[in-house]
Symmetry: C2
Subunit: 588 residues, 2 copies
């Protein structure tokens, strides 16, 4: 049997006999001698075979599974490979067994990254053989291990499993539903998160809970979403927002130190939701670069430019991005209808982008813009504008005007696109920050009602109880280089407040009772103050791995059509199976 | 904020100020002074309050959530409680905050074990507050922690998550099905185990995989089953049956040592399936007691008792249990039609139980039985019978005759029932053993076809390849005191053998291709020899905890009707939801 993993054979094993097993990564036939790169999960070792002693050597092909026994020898000086852990040695093979031959695979493992992803998903077991994916999954395991041990050993968290067959709730995204055979007409839902169960665990007195929890969302899959995903789910009792955030900073600091050797600042920086939206147009701002949104409302209030004036008098805002060197880099064509930047902002509600090109010299600044805007500015105002925005010749100002939320949104998107395009993002930075003081609710224009910005179990700020509709939430998101890494909140633990929140989002007392009656009741039997957080594990691993997609850090991801191309799930089932479940397929 | 968990306050904290938080477990009003037992997840601490300083003391009720700050003092000698970790001290409370009041709960926590289970499941968060359940879940966490760390640190296993939304397969138990919204007419299945995925992971080269995996079975729930359950799932490559068993013995030995301080024998004892069935009538024999099944075929072949003779000549068996002291303890009424022992064996296919009561003295044995049997035995034969069965006066012989499998089954059941009733089981023993050499297939009389005894991916013994139908499997079950703790096998890793097995269980090549085509294909692209095992985690924890049911070691179990009585899942959903899923409810 195997004595070593391939890449663990070292110079310390010289002149000893080892047995290794794995896959033929490469075979090179050099006339009288055959070289085999043998691959297992640890990496690669080189073996040398004499086909006269071992005729089987000539029959070996890529991806054959073999076991070899031989003597460890130093490589000749000219074939030492310093990039390989085993680059100093090779195995002189004495015996070889083919454990399983292999057909020629549809793509070679080494070049798999270049292959169409759909084909790789069909042959996922081949794709998973490449070093990149293998290392991603190993990193995932290491990260989970670090998290578990930190929470268990340093913080006395207890891991508890919550159900997958749960109750359907109408809030939030669409549920995956499961018909009950033994309860005709009734359905389970797969959980979108263990939210209510973990709160119930706090009411039950478990004090500190965590789980690496599988969650499900039946969404129309956007770019990088999966129907099932994994989150690190935590909940803790008798702690307030500050202490929960401090505890989580400890966890995150530990992770970054161990995974990538980064020492994070202590404490982490914070932005309120309002600041983040005002300055970056995003509640997950990428603060690795400036290009902040500048509020020009006050300035334009004093000008005669009617378009902006009417927006401002209607309660809207006028904001701009000051783009260094933008005059040359960004043509009018891109900003005008049909241009890429126009299309980008139009997607998020912009009617257009006004521009001012800053030209001339430091001594004699000249503005290039539409006549109506240019004509509305006095010389003094132009100086003031230059001063307020900090621009110099060669720069470009792009303006958005309209409702605050809309302008923030599209200028925030524009900022990110330009930041990437202009190369101003410092990729070496590991930029973590908290965003706090989210509003409790946002207005859902489609359904014409308030909806919870996080979820309806989030506690309002104690100072804001007088008017819940405008209250801030005790919620906090952790943002890493512009990506939401985790989010949480202090929860409501009192029935009366929970009922007020349900009312605010338009749940009638009857519906609230049907859906969440048990939680409301639980709050009456001794519910401790509690709060928690959840981190998107797939995304976290993706960021640590520097992978392009969460599909690269999951063993068996699904496509955007929510299909597993390897096993061909989902698939049809028999009418008998459906009959047992008391359902019938509806065909168009 | 809290400085200590309740039960962590000790004499070393004397005369310091501590803050604790938790639930009022008991309040005793001794005139001028109020005693509070405060409970949190760690246990209990006693607090003393002067209601003149703290009027709130009088308003406290059971399950109120409070926070208290006070000075740690020694208890007066007469109130020291040596059964409590905190029994030497008490807290003289200086400040108290009611964090959340509580209504009078439907049952008191201390007495919850006596309450109807249905009520406890409705108020699961209250039931979970009792020490017993709390400790069970903590033990579960500790066991999982021990398993993870052993597999990760000692054996280099890597944890990999496999999907929950998988492909429906017709083999085995009934699947839970999930309609796909974006793929009309297609369904996912919740996995009964990660079996195929873990084999694919071996083909992908991960070498050693494990997962604490959620599994699902839509069964008509028997006594102690749950629709969702958890297993420790492992798979490993380049190992044969012996090395897999040795590795698992290491894990199990570690667990028993750490969890209950038991040193298991090394190696663990083994029985073949045939031995286990012959001697104990069970493939998970409880060998803590004798009362083995004795094969009396040879003996009765030589007698004139026609009933047995005709069974034997028809290929059946005659076996018996020799029950020490059974003559007195087991009346004829219990053995005859309508009796409890008769009913027990009849359930498993017995037509009846023949008996011989051994009476008289050692010197002059007398048998009491039916005439036909008595008359058929010569004096010599009687002596031989006494010798073969080892009985003495006062004992009872109970006979079963019929097809081997049926007799083994019902006598095995009878053996267990009598073992428990007669108190011959040594409860102090921790009796672990392997059962090996299972047959590949058993005959499913209902469907008139062979079915896989374990599952169709189990490899046959290499010596038995000539006739798969009668082949032994390379399968192994681990049995703990008569309960199956885990089971596994070496897997097939070659397409041709896998196809033969599919054929043997009656899958047409077309169906095999539709269901398992990707696995068959994977075997052709370099599949290593591999095998694995799965342990039922819920049952394992139940046994370690000494709990009566797996519902006592899960946070949120479901009832036998697969309902969550707390959240009221499953529940009805809206017709719109179903329409989106392309299904319609069928009403009777």
């Amino acid at each position: 049997m195997r004595t070593h993993y391939c890449s663990h054979v070292r110079e310390t094993d010289l002149d000893t006999v080892v047995t290794v097993a794995g896959w033929v990564d490469r075979r090179r036939d050099h006339g009288g001698v055959v070289f085999i790169d043998l691959r297992d999960r640890s990496g690669i070792v080189q073996a040398v075979l004499d086909p006269q002693d071992l005729p089987v050597a000539s029959s070996l092909r890529s991806e054959y599974v073999i076991e070899m026994t031989g003597l460890v020898k130093s490589r000749p000086a000219d074939s030492v490979n310093s990039r390989l852990a085993t680059g100093q040695i090779e195995i002189k093979v004495q015996a070889l067994t083919v454990l399983n031959p292999a057909k020629t695979p549809p793509f070679t493992i080494a070049d798999a990254a270049e292959v169409d992803e759909k084909l790789r998903l069909v042959y996922r077991y081949l794709d998973l053989r490449r070093a990149n994916l293998r290392e991603n999954l190993r990193l995932r395991h290491e990260i989970v291990k670090l998290i578990r041990r930190y929470l268990e050993d340093e913080l006395e968290f207890i891991e508890i499993e919550t159900p997958i067959l749960t109750k359907a709730t109408p809030e939030g995204a669409r549920d995956y539903l499961v018909p009950s055979r033994v309860n005709p007409g009734q359905w389970y839902a797969l959980p979108q998160s263990p939210q209510i169960y973990k709160q119930i665990l706090m009411v039950a007195g478990f004090d500190r809970y965590y789980q690496i929890a599988r969650c499900f969302r039946d969404e129309d899959l956007r770019a990088d979403r999966q129907p099932e995903f994994t989150q690190l789910d935590m909940e803790m009792s008798f702690m307030d927002q500050e202490s929960i955030m401090a505890l989580n900073e400890g966890l995150v600091r530990h992770l970054f130190q161990k995974v990538q050797g980064t020492t994070l600042p202590n404490p982490l920086p914070r932005l309120t939701y309002q600041e983040a939206m005002d300055r970056y147009g995003s509640d997950k701002p990428d603060t690795r670069f400036g290009l902040e949104l500048l509020d020009m409302g006050e300035f334009f209030q004093g000008t005669k430019f009617k378009v902006f004036a009417s927006v401002l008098s209607g309660g809207g805002v006028v904001k701009c991005l000051a783009i260094g060197g933008g005059d040359e880099k960004i043509s009018n064509t891109r900003i005008k209808p049909g241009g890429d930047l126009f299309n980008l902002v139009a997607q998020f509600g912009a009617k257009g982008l006004a521009f001012i090109r800053v030209r001339g010299t430091e001594q004699e600044i000249q503005l290039d813009t539409i006549g109506a805007l240019k004509d509305s500015l006095s010389a003094d105002q132009i100086s003031q504008l230059i001063q307020l925005t900090g621009v110099k010749p060669g720069d470009l100002l792009l303006f958005g005007a309209g409702p605050r939320a809309v302008v923030n949104e599209y200028l925030g998107r524009l900022r990110l696109a330009l930041g990437a395009e202009l190369g101003v993002i410092d990729e070496s930075q590991t930029n973590l920050l908290w965003v706090t003081d989210f509003p409790m609710f946002q207005f859902n224009a489609e359904e014409k009602r308030l909806e919870a910005l996080h979820h309806p179990f989030t506690a309002p700020h104690p100072e804001d109880l007088a008017d819940l509709k405008t209250a801030r939430a005790q919620a906090y998101d952790l943002v890493w280089n512009g990506v939401e890494l985790g989010g949480g909140s202090v929860r409501i633990h009192q029935r009366a407040i929970q009922e007020q929140v349900f009312t605010a989002i338009g749940l009638t007392p009857e519906v609230a009772q049907t859906q969440f009656g048990f939680l409301l009741e639980a709050f009456e039997y001794g519910a401790p103050p509690h709060g928690g957080i959840a981190y998107g594990l797939d995304r976290m691993v993706m960021l640590f791995a520097g992978a392009a997609s969460i599909r690269e850090v999951m063993a068996f991801p699904k496509t955007q059509k929510a299909q597993d191309l390897m096993s061909e799930a989902p698939s049809t089932v028999t009418p008998q199976q459906l009959a047992e479940l008391h359902v019938r397929q509806v065909t168009k």
